[in-house]
């Protein structure tokens, strides 16, 4: 995936000739300040961690499907501490759970959605030669990667990796083995990287738009990334602070989160005391709720681009979409305590948070409706990106709708911390965001590499994934309604767990099938780098600015300075011969 310097014709350099000579390999591909290289670095790193995080879950699913059974082959390889006699130890189960969540959210989805797609696409879509702060961009990746490595190395700590959930609630996390300290340190690095990146995005979008590119002519993808950047910037600091406080509780003898008089395993805990476990929860969820919008918004942005392009008509309700996404951004800061309804919350607070939670569901409904309405009257091409983008819609609908019983306190009494929650958020982020990200990969791969992915393999990848993923997550709602708690090493301890144990087998086989379904994608991804059909600038006949640049773009991106003449989705304009009028083409 080289960022090639040669382009079709011309003198091969973008309008801003910096007058520098060819960079050495390590500055071109390793410590690069080019947003495209950095975007690819983030994307590839994230894809590796998505696969790793998924593998952790596939391992965990063995224990859930066949509790107490030794795992053939792999069981012995993982060692006697994690899998004594090939049977998973409860501590290892908890590590797999905590690390799956942490890795998928912070090392997988967000780095791909924001670090990968954001970095690569946003400057191109606004007609900029790079981000506003290219060196800061490089620093943010190189702070992120050590954080990832530290996070994964925590599996080798004494006592294993973090095992208190991705939510790391104290006092449990405060007294957990050393792997938790590594989790905290890794999170500090990763959060810092996000903060640096988000500033870059905001300044870039505000300052570096091409001539004629007013805010109301920005592709929806850019609006979504702008709101996402604000969420990251404003929501992450409390969690970074809280993580440092947890580090201090663990290492420096403080008791931010430790109340007095704790007795652990029969011994009085030697701690200063006087702290509050709920303080962590507030600080954590103050980030983690906006974080879930960070997880979904870039995906919605991608879906918007792919739908407009493949329906050959403007997005329905573009302005409504923009207002909705900004409203979601604001509201996302005032719903966090719906994760804490069962902590002994008073009626005033819980009524407030229920209400804000119901309110925030409305713009999501509006966005989904706009996307579905965008299909009406279209000329729909079912390309690989479009398959993923359209499947996103009903999948996100299921995820969003199942949030309703969770956001209402009375029903949450029963459903809190059950598998219903796991089904809910996975529908939004797995067949939701991940499908949107796949759509983005199939859509922008030609721009990044100059070659097309195989559409046949793409369709196989889509259908296998779509079927498998529903087998994985749909049964979880039934498990939740039966009352099955999450994070249970052995659900068959409980009668209500035994009642839904058969579903655990279905889910696990679905997950293993889902893994196999990714093989066509992995093969396609690497094969097409060498053997994919070559493309010119605009293989999808799209209208947004990134398609004015060569495929792949050189340093500086555009051969001539782009100028924007119209709205972002002028497809099938009456009276024109072509069914698309790109933003960057003067009238013709």
């Amino acid at each position: 995936m080289s960022v090639e310097h040669h382009t079709a014709g011309g003198n091969g350099h973008a309008h801003a000739d910096h007058g520098h000579h060819e960079l050495p390999f390590w500055r071109k591909y390793i410590f690069s300040v080019d947003h495209k290289v950095i975007g690819i670095q983030y994307a590839v790193t994230a894809l590796v961690f998505l696969f790793f995080g998924f593998s952790l879950m596939m391992l965990l699913r063995w224990q859930l499907a066949y509790p107490g059974q030794p795992l053939p082959v792999l069981g012995k390889l993982l060692g006697e501490t994690a899998m004594p006699g090939g049977v998973m130890a409860p501590e290892f189960y908890n590590q797999l759970g905590a690390m799956h969540g942490t890795i998928m959210v912070f090392l997988g989805v967000v780095p791909l959605a924001v670090g990968g797609f954001g970095n690569f696409v946003v400057p191109l879509q606004i007609g900029a030669p790079d981000m506003a702060f290219p060196r800061l961009n490089m620093v943010s990746y190189w702070v992120f990667l050590p954080g990832c490595i530290l996070m994964v190395c925590s599996f080798f700590a004494d006592g294993g990796a973090a095992q208190s959930g991705w939510t790391s609630y104290p006092p449990l996390s405060d007294i957990a083995p050393p792997g938790q300290t590594m989790w905290c340190l890794a999170m500090v690095l990763i959060i810092t990287s996000s903060l640096l990146g988000s500033i870059n995005f905001i300044v870039t979008i505000v300052q570096l738009r091409a001539k004629g590119l007013t805010y109301w002519r920005l592709p929806f993808f850019v609006h979504a990334q702008l709101v996402t950047a604000f969420l990251l910037l404003l929501a992450f600091p409390p969690l970074e602070a809280a993580t440092v406080m947890q580090l201090m509780d663990r290492l420096a003898g403080t008791s931010f989160f430790l109340p007095s008089g704790l007795v652990v395993s029969g011994e009085q805990l030697k701690a200063a005391g006087g702290g509050s476990p709920l303080l962590w929860q507030h600080l954590f969820w103050f980030l983690a709720h906006p974080e879930v919008y960070v997880l979904i918004l870039p995906g919605m942005g991608i879906v918007a681009e792919v739908i407009a392009n493949n329906t050959r008509k403007p997005l329905w309700g573009y302005r409504l979409l923009v207002y909705s996404v900004i409203f979601i951004g604001f509201m996302s800061f005032v719903v966090w305590a719906h994760h804490m309804f069962m902590t002994g919350m008073g009626t005033t607070m819980s009524t407030f948070f229920q209400t804000t939670t119901m309110i925030i569901s409305i713009p999501s409904v509006v966005i989904l409706t706009c996307f579905i309405m965008s299909l009406y009257g279209g000329n729909i091409r079912f390309t690989s990106p479009m398959l993923f983008a359209t499947a996103f819609l009903p999948m996100f609908a299921i995820g969003g709708l199942t949030g309703l019983p969770l956001g209402l306190t009375a029903s949450d009494i029963y459903l809190h911390d059950t598998f219903y929650v796991i089904g809910h958020f996975h529908y939004v982020v797995a067949p939701g965001t991940l499908f949107a990200l796949f759509a983005g990969i199939y859509y922008w791969y030609p721009k990044a590499t100059g070659r097309q992915l195989s559409d046949k393999l793409g369709k196989v990848h889509f259908w296998l994934s779509f079927v498998a993923i529903n087998f994985v997550f749909m049964p979880m709602f039934f498990q939740g309604m039966a009352g099955l708690s999450r994070r249970l090493y052995d659900p068959t301890v409980y009668a209500h767990g035994r009642g839904v144990q058969a579903l655990n087998v279905v889910i696990s086989w679905g997950a293993w099938g889902l893994a196999l379904a990714q093989l066509p994608f992995i093969v396609n991804f690497f094969m097409s780098l060498r053997a994919g059909a070559r493309v010119a600038e605009n293989p999808w006949h799209s209208t947004t600015l990134e398609w004015a640049a060569p495929s792949p773009p050189g340093h500086g991106n555009f051969l001539t300075e782009p100028v924007v003449y119209r709205e972002p989705y002028e497809y099938s304009v009456p009276g024109k011969t072509k069914d698309y009028s790109p933003q960057f083409q003067a009238e013709g």
């Binding site: 908890n94 008089g261 007795v263 008509k313 279209g378 000329n379 029903s411």
Partner: protein
Amino acid sequence: MDEKIYGWWLPPDVSVHGAKIDQLMSVLHWFMLLLFIGWGVFFVYCLVRFRARPGHVAVYTPVKGIATKYIEAFVVVVEIFLLFGLSTPVWLSYKNNVPDAKKALHVRLVAEQFAWNFQYPGKDGKFGKNDPSQISGDNPLGIDPEDPAGKDDLVTVNNLHVPANRPVIVDVSSKDVIHSFNIPVLRVKQDTIPGQLISVWFEATQTGHFELACAQLCGLGHYRMRGDVLIDTPEEFAKWQAENAPPPPGEPAAAAPEEKK
């Protein structure tokens, strides 16, 4: 214990306040199904009707969103009803209608890694003070031996006996990490937070043998933090209390209390 009552949906509700919760669940899921099928039908219709084929073109002029405005308004109205007509009243009535302290059975719960320690006040109706420094294997709640009120207290572990048709108020806390007191058939869930004493109440409408499960990850034994919930008739309960009460001071110990560990 009857396993047959546990299937793929809500287990039977044996509580006084649960019917309204179950009703909310039902209304919610019908509403969700209605929306999903409504959107879904339109969605599939669009995919089929507007698929690309020879001679077919897209329409540039957007469809006027009149129907959509009504649908959005309908969704908003239903959500307002769900929030203010169902959920909030149910939640408020549960939280605010705490039973009369004189009629209710009081129980204290201190959760630990990985067991549920219950304390019942004896005939004096008073709980002995809990002192963390007094916690030991025999004294999981750390009842202060100097406190006369605690001498007749009954302690059980992983075993909650309650009478049917009488309100029960459980004051929950934890001695180490956050656990969660969760009895699905009673529609009860309350996080037990160290450093805090939180009250939760319920009233059982049926006798039976049910389960208590921890609903907050609390360590490697989280999965086996199971308790038995035995809802007795008032007579059975009184008999159980009498049989298991600690002996008055000075007399030889009676039979060991039921299910110490």
